[in-house]
């Protein structure tokens, strides 16, 4: 499926933002794919906000333990060096700035780095979870999202129209078409896929952004694959 491939490409590009040894929390959606797309030589420490460090991969069915899950309620496993803690310490770790990176999905991102990721339009909003704490607390916030919604609506906007998760906290934004960085609430294009022109990118990006003087043009097949 083209859609699945795009999601994987976004995850792989987001994974390239990670450094060896980073303590990382991966949000629901595309971010959960990041762990399978790590660059060679990059080992990360996975945190799950329901109270565990060193999250291991999904176990084989015979070893699955329904009490051992990640924040997406997926079955996980222990690794050497895993630790368990209560949700209070887990969020203290997040809010206190002890996570190096969170990779999180988005409904909308504004040009000043605001994130809207929890309240779906037209639905009663009955869930916020841990996203607000993650985004406020992690040292680096990487948003990994498709450039537009499934319906083709833009997600990168001058202002978010959906309820905010946090204001001005996004550091890096990775889509299937481009990579943006935020500095002093300015959105800067640092990387663009060779499959589209800057003009084409601007046409699908209502957010106003600057173009980095060393803009990288990358072959989507190579880098985003």
């Amino acid at each position: 499926m083209e859609h699945q491939l795009i999601r994987r490409r976004i995850a792989r590009r987001a994974a390239q933002e990670l450094r060896d040894g980073d303590v990382v929390n991966l949000g629901i959606g595309i971010p959960t794919l990041v762990n399978n797309e790590l660059s060679p030589g990059v080992n990360i420490h996975l945190h799950t906000e329901n109270g565990m460090m060193e999250v291991g991969p999904s176990p084989p069915p015979e070893a699955a333990d329904p009490q051992l899950i990640n924040a997406s309620r997926q079955l996980i496993s222990e690794l050497p060096g895993s630790s368990y803690f209560d949700s209070g310490l887990s969020f203290a770790m997040m809010r206190g700035g002890h996570l190096d990176v969170t990779i999180i999905g988005a409904l909308q991102v504004s040009q000043r780095g605001d994130l809207a990721s929890w309240a779906v339009p037209g639905k009663t909003v009955l869930g916020v979870g841990g996203a607000m704490d993650l985004v406020v607390g992690a040292k680096r916030v990487i948003v990994a999202t498709t450039h537009r919604t499934k319906e083709g609506q833009p997600k990168l906007l001058p202002e978010c129209t959906l309820p905010l998760t946090a204001r001005g906290e996004v550091d890096v934004l990775v889509t299937e078409h481009a990579v943006f960085r935020f500095e002093a609430n300015c959105m800067i294009l640092t990387e663009i896929g060779s499959h589209l022109s800057l003009r084409e990118l601007k046409a699908i990006t209502p957010a106003e952004f600057q173009v980095h003087p060393q803009l990288k043009v990358v072959n989507r097949k190579e880098v985003f694959q």
Binding site: T48, E49, N50, G51, M52, D65, P66, Q67, L68, I69, N70, A71, R73, I76, E78, Y84, F85, D86, S87, G88, S90, F91, A92, M94, R95, A119, K123, T124, V125, L126, G127, V128, G129, G130, A131, M132, D133, V136, G137, P163, L164, T165, A166, R167
Partner: protein, 216 residues
């Protein structure tokens, strides 16, 4: 006070209708199912529930919802049970949503004698509406009040006879916090062991937080 051991049925008979209840668990991990079932079988109702989520349809706290016991729910993520949305839409259920870190911290505060604290989380968002905001280190922070309850229903793995608790993997989650934050803490455990059998360095909830142990 020394802890008491009793059945789930006896334990939940201590809970009054209209009480504020904390119930541990994240998803279906670390939920005190026996205590919830015993409560569903009782005639108690009209609860204010403090729990991260309300189970899934017909499971765990979902049973309490479906039998109309919950008047108000305070939590972070009710999306996993569509029955919650339905009850809310029909006006059968009041919902108060908190960011999960604020939810945890408010419960810990409730158990720790801290009536209120400031957090950067949710500042300048809808969830801060109507709340006091104050700047610290140049950043807006929201004043959040402690959460306390009449009764906590907690799931632990092992208890010793004194009531010291250890938990099991990610089933720990909110349970140790909730064990601190109510007048009556009822703990469902897999097994009770003699005092001295748990490693003193590894006890997560010391017994002064615990009132009743239930195994059955």
């Amino acid at each position: 006070m020394s802890v008491q051991q009793m059945t789930a049925k006896q334990a939940v008979s201590r809970i009054e209708s209209g009480a504020t209840l904390m119930v541990g668990g994240f998803g279906l991990s670390g939920v005190p199912f026996k205590l919830v079932d015993a409560l569903v079988e009782s005639d108690r109702r009209d609860f204010t529930l403090i729990s991260n989520n309300i189970g899934t349809p017909g499971q765990g706290l979902g049973k309490m919802l479906n039998t109309g016991r919950i008047r108000k729910a305070i939590g972070t993520y009710f999306t996993t049970n569509p029955d919650v949305g339905e009850a809310y839409q029909q006006g059968r259920l009041e919902v108060k949503l908190l960011p999960q870190g604020t939810f945890c911290e408010a419960i810990r505060a409730g158990g720790s004698g801290i009536p209120a604290f400031y957090t950067p989380t949710a500042a300048e968002t809808e969830l801060a509406e109507g709340k006091e905001v104050r700047e610290f280190e140049g950043r807006p922070h929201v004043l959040e009040k402690a959460l306390k309850a009449d009764v906590s229903l907690v799931k632990a793995h092992l208890a010793d006879e004194l009531g010291n608790l250890v938990y099991y993997k990610t089933a720990r989650n909110f349970n140790p916090l909730m064990a601190m934050a109510s007048h009556l803490t009822i703990v469902e455990v897999d097994r009770i062991v003699p005092a001295g059998m748990l490693d003193p360095e590894a006890i997560i909830t010391p017994h002064p937080f615990v009132d009743i142990l239930v195994t059955e």
